[in-house]
């Protein structure tokens, strides 16, 4: 029965209270451990189509009569359009229409960052549209850009009010502590660079709009476009069958969608608007840079008594304050915590969510600080973390937390330390470091699925979710197969179209599997119930003795019948099961945990750093597909290595212009940068969470990477690296500082 509840909804650390209609989620969880299908490795259901080049991405959508749009983006970080003249552009070959500032949502005459959309042109070909952009005559009033986030904070120029948090009595605790360590950490701006650039194809059909879009949230785009263009939501159909990566940057409709929709309206033709790689790297968001001034105070036994964090997020011209302070508030049992987070509004491209936004940056600072504290107190990192283990935060218990078990399993990897350090040779120093992970990932309602079973005994899961490359489509198929007692190859999944399936979760905040999985299971259970009810009547048995297994209806009193025999009675009709995601456990925090242990080699003469091994142990509840899960872990770690060592959006501070917009200058990790990666997932179902006990895994693996590597560098060299990326300059700076500190110690009186 449908119930209306008031519940807390969380996406990437942002909570809101909402009314939700849910259906009872009354199924008991399966016992822990591998089942027939769930918990066993499965190759991707969409793998062959993607590998063979048959998958149709938004980039491959071509509609009859389709035009191509190109966007005029501000070449200045801060400017005003005094006048704009399209006359020459309109006369150029192939040009069909133009739109200027104010004529479509997102197009502005007062850009606040380089790359902000100002105008657009539709033409017969992409090349014609881009050539015509050069003919648009714009008279600019160029304004002084502000690019320094600290100056913005001084001026009080913030995207939203600074957030302040305090528990306990921090000042008293600081005064009474045995030891206080302070450090300033900095993290850089990082670009998503999903391989399929942001793009949409829009087509008006009657009074409705079809939007083909590379997106992480079909239903969010539908709602956003409908509300912005003042259309009934059901008049907006959003389609995304195959999606070429997002990492957080594709949660909204984006300027390209509004440009395509408006130009399609003006021309009466479908319009594609796709970004180039260079546009991608100025106009689609970023992981914002941060400045973190942190203090940790402890007793001499390592017990934390106070944590203080002053965080500045260089949020950009727009965006939201990613919770850089989250790990400090949540990771450790510390009574006295005070944080201030100031989201600076500056003339740089706006931040957008990027794989565990805030927590990646904040974990780097906090977990490095903790090891600096441990080094001063001569307490080993795992021991220090155990001594400060949190059993709740702000008196809200965790729905499940097995971080202690993660620490236990990390022990053998940490124990490799002597052997690793022993392999130091000449200028190459080796060391081991670790860092903890905390992040969200519980998902939540609403999310719905249908399961259709036809007379051929095959099942189809129907839901308008998207698979952004994480493998959730495969996981959903496994869950349905398990519940229906069917082999995996007899279950298919239809997704990616708001007109063909029910509402589905956003693929962000590690939420697709924990949100959609329980809905799929409950829909499959509904279909299974109906099959058994029909079988009970057909074979004159009681339903309670019948179950589904191996494609058969099995009686506990002996006897079995193939599912096709029963559903075959329907002829061309089908059974339809419906399912919904139930509510999250009331009053509890649903979080993911883990620890990673990194091994590095550092050339102390040149500052070169090589990551040689990363062991990752994470607690994300029940694992649906161990094969896909290991790929998620590896992918997160490799992205984390890029974040730690090479990736850096460079901005000219005077002009606010992005200097490295291309993939030769912006350095992504290559196959040659990959270390040995060992991934272990605890696979312990969260008994309080849904009918599955599964949490999300998309984001957790990237969270601790930078801190684990930095801590390994300290172990190898004694140098405290405090700024990302850890370039050779930063490495050599830290080595110099460490040498001077040593010199100072030797020269100083023994009493100090």
């Amino acid at each position: 029965m449908a119930r209306l509840i008031r519940t807390e909804k969380e996406v990437e650390g942002r909570y809101e209270e909402v009314w939700l209609v849910v259906e009872e989620d009354a199924l008991d969880q399966w016992p822990a451990g591998p089942r027939e299908v769930v918990g066993r490795p499965a190759t991707r259901v969409t793998g062959p189509m993607r590998a063979r080049g048959e998958a149709r991405y938004t980039a491959d959508v071509e509609l009859p009569g389709m035009l191509y749009a190109a966007v005029l983006r501000s070449p200045h970080a801060h400017a005003r359009v005094k006048s704009i003249d399209f006359e020459r552009a309109l006369a150029a070959p192939g040009v069909r229409a133009t739109v200027g500032p104010g004529e479509a949502p997102t197009l502005t005459a007062e850009p606040g960052f380089q790359g902000q959309a100002v105008a657009a042109i539709a033409a017969d070909t992409d090349r014609q549209a881009r050539a015509a952009l050069e003919l648009v005559e714009v008279e600019w009033e160029v304004r002084e850009p502000l690019t320094d986030p600290e100056e913005a904070v001084r001026r009080g120029q913030l995207v939203s009010e600074a957030s302040r948090y305090e528990r306990g009595d921090v000042d008293k605790a600081l005064a009474q502590a045995d030891i206080v360590v302070e450090a300033e950490y900095r993290t850089q701006t990082v670009l998503h660079n999903s391989f399929e650039p942001h793009q949409s194809v829009c087509e008006w059909r009657g009074d409705g709009l079809d939007v083909y879009i590379s997106t992480q949230f079909i239903w969010g785009v539908r709602d956003e476009v409908a509300s912005t263009l003042d259309l009934p939501p059901d008049k907006v159909r959003v389609i995304c069958e195959f999606m070429g990566g997002g990492f957080g940057s594709k949660n909204g409709a984006g300027d390209h969608t509004y440009v395509a929709a408006e130009l399609a309206k003006r021309t009466g033709r479908p319009v594609r608007c796709a970004l180039t790689r260079r546009e991608e790297n100025v106009a689609t968001g970023n992981r914002n840079s941060t400045i973190q001034r942190l203090t940790a105070a402890a007793r001499s036994d390592g017990t934390l008594v106070a944590l203080v964090g002053d965080y500045v997020n260089a949020t950009g011209w727009d965006g939201w304050p990613a919770p850089t302070d989250g790990p400090m508030k949540m990771l450790y049992d510390c009574e006295n915590v005070r944080t201030v987070l100031s989201p600076a509004k500056i003339n740089t491209p706006p931040m957008r969510a990027f794989r565990a936004p805030g927590f990646v940056e904040g974990t780097f600072g906090l977990e490095c600080l903790l090891d600096e504290l441990g080094a001063r107190l001569d307490i080993e990192p795992l021991e220090l973390r155990r001594r400060n283990y949190a059993h709740s935060t702000d008196d809200r218990p965790f729905s499940s937390k097995n971080l202690m078990e993660c620490y236990r399993r990390a022990e053998p990897h940490w124990q490799r330390r002597d052997e690793v350090r022993g392999r130091s040779e000449g200028p190459w120093k080796r060391g081991v470091g670790l860092a903890s992970q905390i992040w969200y990932g519980g998902g939540g309602p609403p999310s719905y699925a249908w399961v259709r079973v036809g007379s051929d005994g095959r099942a189809t899961v129907i839901t308008a979710m998207q698979d952004i490359g994480t493998g959730t489509a495969t996981a959903m198929t496994q869950i349905a197969a398990e519940e229906l007692g069917l082999p995996l190859e007899r279950v298919e999944l239809v997704l990616g179209d708001s007109a063909r399936g029910p509402y589905a979760s956003i693929s962000a905040g590690s939420s697709t599997t924990p949100s959609m999985g329980p809905a799929v299971r409950s829909a499959a259970a509904d279909a299974a119930r109906q099959i058994i009810e029909i079988a009970a009547q057909r074979y004159d048995k009681e339903t309670r003795i019948l179950s589904l297994k191996d494609g058969k209806i099995v009686s506990s009193e002996g006897g079995s019948w193939r599912v096709e025999e029963v559903v075959g009675l329907l002829e061309d009709a089908q059974i339809l099961g419906k399912g919904a995601r139930g509510p999250n456990p009331a009053g509890m925090q649903v979080l993911t945990f883990g620890v990673q242990v990194a091994e590095v080699a550092v050339d102390v003469e040149t500052g070169e750093i090589r990551v040689e091994r990363v062991a990752a142990i994470h607690d994300v509840g029940r694992v649906i597909n161990p094969l896909g899960a290991s790929s998620q872990v590896e992918g997160g770690i490799i992205q984390g290595i890029g974040h730690t060592l090479s990736e850096d959006r460079l901005l000219d501070p005077a002009s606010g212009i992005t200097l490295n917009q291309t993939l030769d200058a912006y350095r992504l990790p290559t196959i040659a940068d990959v270390p040995e990666i060992v991934s272990e997932l605890l696979d312990i179902p969260d008994e309080h969470l849904t009918n599955l006990g599964s949490k999300g895994l998309g984001e957790p693996p990237i969270v601790p990477v930078a801190a684990a590597i930095a801590n390994a560098i300290r172990d190898a060299t004694g140098a405290d690296v405090r700024s990302l990326p850890i370039s050779r300059e930063e490495m050599l700076r830290a080595l110099r500082e460490a040498r001077e500190r040593e010199k100072g110690k030797r020269g100083a009186p023994a009493a100090v």
Binding site: G53, A59, F195, G628, G636, T662
Partner: protein, 144 residues
């Protein structure tokens, strides 16, 4: 002009400056070749010219001449396709056709490449999802 793609001859209209990637995708409808950067930095658009991997997004059509073009559509039955799926060597899949095309040239000349040889040969094909360990596994185990 004539263009040989996957063993078939095509007549294509070729304005100056048209790239091979544009031609196979837009004129021939072979959309398995993906364009992720369009300036020769990422490898998603890799095709073979007489067996040699090239970035089709910076290969001008007029430079192809008589050479035989092989796109992912011409390699659909290659054992590497199954090997990539088996090893889970793809996530979003946008770079995958280019990865498989590059890998096919590697195993053609060196059926059992070492880890270093794989890393050398595949370093020109970026993957943002980070499937690299599984790509190495797929190429190591491609013969089944």
């Amino acid at each position: 002009m004539a263009l040989n793609v996957n063993g078939q001859s095509h007549e294509v209209d070729a304005p100056v400056g048209r790239t091979l990637a544009e031609t196979v995708r837009e004129d021939l409808g072979l959309t398995g070749t993906k364009i992720a950067c369009a300036e020769g930095h990422c490898g998603a658009c890799t095709v073979l010219l007489d067996g040699v991997p090239v970035y089709s997004c910076i290969t001008l059509l007029h430079m192809v001449g008589e050479r035989k073009v092989t796109t992912i559509e011409g390699l659909r039955d290659h054992p590497l396709v199954d090997a990539f799926v088996r090893a889970d060597a793809l996530q979003c899949g946008f770079c995958t056709p280019g990865q498989i095309v590059s890998a096919s040239a590697l195993v053609e000349s060196n059926p059992q490449p070492s880890s270093d040889e794989i890393r050398h040969a595949m370093a020109g094909n970026l993957c943002r999802c980070g499937t690299y360990p599984k790509i190495e596994e797929a190429i190591t185990t491609w013969q089944g």
